[in-house]
């Protein structure tokens, strides 16, 4: 049985761990609120962008030579996967969920005979994939998550993907990230960026309204579309980065809450052992004194 001194030290160390985890929980909660607010604030831009794109796509429908961002390269050989994770750990299964889904997708694509390339975002993803899939990694982006996500991070990433696409190095691009459902739940999701997938819902209003044909475009539709598509790519990436930031903090908050509660539980059980040990020691000493006195 552990000595009283050892037990005291263990209880003390768990107490300070609990202090740290509960502080981390508070910090994550505050950051989560901020991340959620900025995700909320970014929504109108994405919505307006989708509306414009729908109108433009309807106006240019049927024309030849659609930009690669919209239609892809027409092939389906080289896939680029972009897993989005955080830079730091201690957020439960948040990062490993993305890793698992990415690995599954890599295996599936490879078994179909496709070439897979990786562009991990976040230090966690980069470290994880450098172990088993180092030869697939073509580039990396770290230092994005954690603090406020600047739009420039998304636009740089968008430009990288666009350049790869224009160079014909990739045919399909897919983001793998945690969709933020609520602070407790994040759902790992694959989202195809290129070729673009238009939701049914996006196309309907454009097709239904008669205004479409009346639109004037300056400069012409093709040029506008060419300018708008890379922007749209960046906006989609930005939205996913914001979801990742919110999800990371949500996951960390939940994980730290659990850790704090676990620490409390082990402190309770250790204190019980400590008290019982102390009582045993006292009883033993008493017995010794009493039996010593009787022997005299």
């Amino acid at each position: 049985m552990a000595s009283l001194k050892e037990l005291r030290a263990r209880i003390g160390s768990i107490k300070s761990t609990r202090k740290i985890t509960s502080a981390m929980k508070m910090v994550a909660a505050a950051k989560l609120r901020r991340a959620q607010a900025s995700a909320e604030a970014a929504r109108p831009y994405a919505a307006a962008m989708r509306r414009m794109l729908g109108e433009l796509a309807a106006a240019t429908k049927g024309e030849d030579g659609a930009p690669r961002l919209l239609a892809g390269t027409g092939q389906d050989k080289v896939h680029l996967l972009v897993p989005l994770t955080s830079d730091r750990g201690l957020c439960g299964g948040f990062n490993s969920n993305v890793h698992r889904l990415t690995v599954q997708t890599i295996r599936r694509l490879q078994s179909e005979g496709k070439t897979v390339k990786l562009l991990p975002v976040g230090r966690r993803a980069f470290n994880f994939f450098s172990r088993d899939y180092a030869d697939l990694i073509i580039d990396k982006v770290v230092g994005v998550s954690g603090k406020e996500v600047p739009f420039s991070a998304a636009s740089n990433l968008g430009e990288k993907i666009n350049a790869l696409l224009e160079a014909g190095e990739i045919d399909v691009c897919t983001l793998v990230f945690n969709k933020f459902k609520n602070a407790m739940t994040q759902v790992p999701t694959c989202q195809q960026l290129v070729p673009m997938v238009m939701d049914e819902a996006d196309e309907k209003p454009a097709a239904a309204s008669n205004d479409v044909a009346l639109y004037e475009f300056e400069p012409d539709e093709g040029t506008l579309l060419e300018m708008l598509l890379p922007r749209n790519l960046q906006v989609q990436i930005y939205a996913s980065l914001l979801e990742t930031a919110a999800g990371e903090n949500g996951a960390r908050m939940t994980a730290m809450d659990n850790a704090t509660r676990n620490a409390g539980r082990s402190i309770d059980s250790l204190s019980q052992v400590y008290n019982r040990t102390r009582q045993t020691n006292i009883t033993n000493e008493l017995i010794e004194i009493i039996s010593g006195a009787q022997a005299v």
Binding site: S38, A41, A42, P44, Y45, A48, M49, R51, M52, E55, L56, F151, A154, D211, L214, Y215, E216, F217, E218, P219, T223, L224, M227, L228, R231, Q234, V235, Y238
Partner: protein, 136 residues
Amino acid sequence: MPVQIEIISPEKVLVSREVDMAVLPGMEGDIAAMPERAPMMLLLRGGIVALYEGETVTDRYFVGGGFADITPTRCTVLADKAVPVSEISIDNATAQLEALSEAWDQADKTDTTRLSVLQDQIQAVRAEIEAGSSAG
């Protein structure tokens, strides 16, 4: 009858209110969004969006390029970057201009797409500095 103007940057909505007229810096020249204007989609250069109430300019915003969607009742500006003119930091813009000029000098002069992108960026930053100094 006023027109509903919205200036939206990727990070947030800057303005959403009703004005009598908004003058937008179109890529091929300035265009005013007024009530009952024919619907139009516009590519923007870096410049000033001026909001009018009656005959007077009430607010001026700098936008660093973007798109505008104009309908008879509404005008949505999707700006790559947007700031009120009074909040422009000339020091930042000057530093940006220097960095861009350097990139221009180092750029491959045969790569025309890269050059035209840089040119647009330089033009936008110059417009920002001009707007900032006219306000200050």
